[in-house]
Symmetry: C2
Subunit: 319 residues, 2 copies
């Protein structure tokens, strides 16, 4: 049996925060960290490291939206095996807010961007790299990117400082053939870079796609406990922990996190395989229209919703 | 683009009946048939054709547990494109209750059995075949079958009358490598038989496994609307209809069935990706212990449940 060499990046707080506006208590995050650490999960993405002054509505969001090192030191006084990660968005981070890694709780900084902003992302990544962080570039919405744009991006990426490049299935629309195609393309064009995958579960393919990517050599696997994440959510951490052929992982602490934290939370907040998200997935588009539907009185009116998306002039208005 | 030649067998009533003791109204079944027919789904498995006199507790179950042709003719006065299928269990059917196909509403009779009963199943199948039905043999719990038993079964199957042989992942414990292995094994040993797949969703792999089997040439794909089926449920019909590259299928009528019938039903009955079912799936065992847990006050106590299953002497008692 070949042991699997992939690592798990648990995104429950960061991507799950998109569901509840980062309204996680400090105790919740502490228990989650303890559980992931005991389970042998490699990274915990504990939030966004954006700068509040660059974001509208910042005052309503929980502290995990704008991670502060002093605050983090109180939350996790003693780091264990599990490293900490933070995501930044292009144009929403002030480089001056990022200390050197030696003074920070964060080990890994990930920069998310659309294909047109890869140049800006790589500039930010150079800065984080110079300050000592591990770095990733997460190219979103790859299913809507044309070949020429992607090849142009590869040219910039291959000579950059970034450690790991992510394949992000933002709309949850890709199947195993698409994932295989993308992994092979990234491996061919970026032989000197390690790869990561971030999958969404609109078509119930997030876990399967992540497993298949892992078998093809993708190293960083994004997941979240009980799949918590925006709209249809992510690859479930508990499935990776139980199915990866890697003796490091333990399932029981993740089950404990689910029982203590996630089952009660799922009664208040909604994510997962829900038909409007399946519809946006199958149409290969952003779930925002489905999120608006689920927040309305017509939340289960999937047929009307589908009809609108299938009628271009109406779709245009609705978006 | 290569068009997919697989056919969908919707098992909502038959496998879903295991959830609600076949308590579907006639109107429910009529609306489901109309929707599947409009969607272009090839078969609807409308229940079991077991004989009530051979089954304990028969009087409590709905009529779909013991299909009767006279009754069926009232339910579906006019058959459309979608053919009808029924399942029988070994030892629970009286051959004298099965008329010739020319006098029956049923087109396809499927016989489910464990590996040790393949001989008995093939004998039944010969009878159904002689009476004019299409037939399948559904070998359950393949993940717990040793190679020598399987090869012995293949020897009997290859010279039998059965049209289609099913790969059944009863415990929802198989991944794409297992499915690939089994499909290739069945194709090698049974070159003269067509194949089918019945997957369960304990590890969120039912749809992915079914897609992969289909791409490898498996022809009959079992599914159910909104995944309704015992415990973790099945491959969702709506995902096959939307993702198979086959212009015959229409998603909208399936969405309508979900909106009208399945969303209200799911509020009363439980199936799907639920942690105790994930646990039995990852341990490759029957979900009966998890079903008992979900019917108890301790339904969300997954950690205790996991601990018991991981302690052999306790597990033995619980089963």
């Amino acid at each position: 049996m070949k042991l699997n060499q992939s690592k798990i990046v648990d995104c429950t707080i960061r991507d799950g925060g998109l569901v509840n506006n980062w309204d996680f208590s400090i105790e919740f995050v502490q228990k989650l960290y303890a559980g992931l650490n005991e389970a042998g999960v490699d990274y915990m993405e504990i939030g966004y490291k954006n700068s509040p002054k660059l974001l509208k509505g910042a005052e309503q969001a929980g502290p995990w939206r704008f991670l502060d090192d002093e605050f983090l030191r109180k939350v996790i006084p003693q780091k264990g095996f599990t490293k900490l990660s933070a995501l930044v968005d292009i144009g929403r981070v002030d480089e001056n807010d990022i200390p050197n890694r030696s003074e920070s709780m964060i080990d890994l900084i990930r920069v998310a961007c659309y294909i047109k902003d890869v140049d800006k992302a790589l500039q930010l990544i150079q800065t984080f790299h110079d300050r000592g962080y591990e770095t990733t570039l997460n190219i979103m919405a790859l299913s809507n990117v044309m070949e020429n744009e992607l090849v142009e991006a590869f040219e910039m990426i291959k000579d950059s400082a970034v450690d790991i490049v992510y394949i992000v299935d933002s709309y949850g629309s890709l199947d195993h053939k698409d994932i295989t195609f993308l992994v092979e393309k990234f491996q061919t064009h970026l032989p000197n870079k390690r790869l990561g995958i971030h999958a969404h579960n609109n078509l119930q393919l997030a876990f399967s796609n992540t497993l298949i990517a892992s078998e093809k050599g993708v190293e960083l696997l994004d997941a979240s406990v009980y799949g918590m994440g925006r709209a249809a959510g992510n690859c479930p951490t508990e499935l990776l922990v139980s199915q990866l052929k890697n003796t490091q992982y333990k399932l029981r602490p993740v089950l404990d996190v689910i029982e203590q934290l996630m089952i009660p939370l799922r009664e208040k907040e909604e994510w997962g395989y829900i038909i409007p998200y399946m519809i946006t997935g199958t149409l290969d588009e952003h779930p925002r229209s489905a999120m608006a539907l689920r927040a309305s009185d017509a939340k289960d009116k999937s047929v009307d919703f589908y009809d609108k998306l299938m009628t271009p002039e109406v779709t245009f208005d609705q978006k």
